[in-house]
């Protein structure tokens, strides 16, 4: 079974590698959204330093949602999704592998780019660690929960916006904990509680979301 999962993950990564524009667009979106806020609110250094965690996290949320539409749509269109259902691994495990591939390509780069955005907002460098860690723990949760929404809206009219409406309310705890951890750290307090809660969210969603995704995929295939 692991050979099957490795092949699935490898295939997804290979496709993403040979289609860099898809991946790059979502990441570029992240940078653009974060750059828009100061243009709207004014670039006062104190203001920016204060809103930086929130802005970076909201931008990460939106970028993740944009890239989620790609998760199953292409597979559904070219028939590989059917083969996945008929594959050697249970659908829940295969779904987890797909989400992992998606996160490696769309979520992990955000962790790497975030310090650059933090620089734009003049966030203190001692907070970069907390920011990166919160994103590292939080973006997989976004991918996991978002995958449920992506599976539910597969092939549905107005899919992209509908996906956003379904998934954004469910993202709220991750946003609060993620941005809150950095805000906590910037106030000089230890962000341990928030990061541990994020870790807990990650563990629970990693355990349960793949099965919800599998159920949603079967519903969508009718």
């Amino acid at each position: 079974m692991t050979a099957a999962l490795r092949a699935l993950l490898w295939r997804d990564l290979l496709v993403a590698l040979r289609r860099p524009s898809d991946v790059a667009t979502a990441l570029l979106f992240f940078v653009v959204v974060a750059s828009l806020f100061p243009l709207g609110t004014g670039a006062g250094p104190n203001l920016l330093r204060e809103v930086a965690p929130g802005v970076i996290w909201v931008a990460a949320l939106l970028s993740s949602m944009l890239s989620l539409q790609r998760l199953f749509a292409a597979d559904h269109a070219d028939g590989t999704l059917e083969q996945l259902v008929l594959g050697a691994s249970p659908l829940g495990v295969a779904a987890a592998a797909k989400v992992l591939g998606h996160w490696l390509v769309s979520g992990l780069p955000l962790v790497a780019i975030a310090p650059a955005i933090a620089l734009q907002y003049d966030l203190s460098p001692r907070l970069y660690g907390t920011l990166a860690l919160s994103l590292l723990l939080g973006t997989p949760v976004l991918s996991l929960i978002g995958a449920i929404g992506a599976a539910l809206t597969l092939g549905v009219r107005g899919g992209g916006v509908l996906l956003a409406l379904l998934v954004l309310p469910l993202y709220v705890p991750v946003l609060i904990l993620g941005a809150g951890s950095v805000a906590q750290a910037s106030a000089g307090l230890a962000p341990d509680a928030q990061l541990e809660l994020l870790g807990a969210l990650l563990a629970v969603s990693a355990a349960f979301a793949p099965w919800a995704v599998a159920a949603a995929l079967r519903i969508a295939m009718e």
Partner: protein, 236 residues
């Protein structure tokens, strides 16, 4: 064997249709006197609040509406789960019928909460923890309705909505507590009664009466809507 038959007897939409009408009518008739009594107690009998004066009386609509909006979401998720597990059409139809009423009550809770905030805090929206949670609950209801509306096949719409409702109901406590924590962090204003050690008995009575009234209204509206859905779907 007999118990099983009786259990699923009303699971057929055709069989339940007349019963739904009877229950709906009864609840509709009950809702009116309950609401009248509740409003009377709330607006005339309950004592004036020490700090907020008369303006606080809007809680007799706000709090019961909020209670019912959360209760209806859980009920909706329950019937959706039953429909998914037992593949019964009626349960799924009932869940779809409850959603708009739940959304309406959530909106009412938000609107009255905002009206309460104005005289108390000077602003129509103060990002109070409970109001923010209600807002997210409204998004969850609207998301459920939007998902069902955009899927053409009714069976797939039922099942997809059911899964979404189950995921939602599991997430609601997480969302609620994280918003609570967020609110304490940012020292937001709170739209609530002064922390009296015990709420005056009359206030509690008023809110309970209104809660029952909203419950009867919810039953009437949902079952009436259910009858419309049954008529629509079972035409074929």
């Amino acid at each position: 064997m007999n118990a099983t038959i009786r259990w699923f007897w009303f699971a057929s939409p055709q069989t339940f249709f007349p019963l739904a009408g009877t229950i709906a009518r009864a609840c509709g008739w009950l809702a009116v006197p309950l609401a009248a009594a509740g409003l009377y107690v709330g607006f005339f009998v309950a004592p004036t609040d020490a700090q907020q004066g008369e303006a606080y009386r809007i809680i007799f609509i706000h709090v019961p509406a909020a209670w019912m909006s959360m209760f209806l979401y859980v009920v909706m998720a329950f019937w959706a789960a039953v429909g998914l597990a037992f593949n019964t059409r009626l349960s799924a139809m009932l869940a779809s019928a409850i959603a708009p009423t739940g959304a309406l009550l959530t909106f009412l809770a938000l609107w009255t909460g905002s009206l309460w905030g104005r005289p108390t805090w000077g602003a129509y929206w103060v990002w109070d923890a409970r109001l923010t949670s209600e807002l997210i609950l409204l998004f969850l209801y609207l998301g459920f309705m939007a998902l069902q509306a955009s899927i053409e096949d009714p069976r797939r719409a039922d099942r997809a909505g059911a899964l979404l409702a189950i995921v939602g109901v599991v997430n609601v406590p997480v969302i609620y507590y994280s918003v609570q924590w967020w609110n304490t962090l940012h020292q937001g204003a709170s739209v609530s009664l002064t922390r009296a050690p015990s709420m005056a008995a009359a206030m509690l009575a008023g809110m309970l009466l209104m809660a029952l009234a909203f419950w009867m209204y919810g039953l009437w509206a949902s079952l009436t809507r259910l009858r419309c859905i049954i008529r629509e779907r079972e035409r074929a």
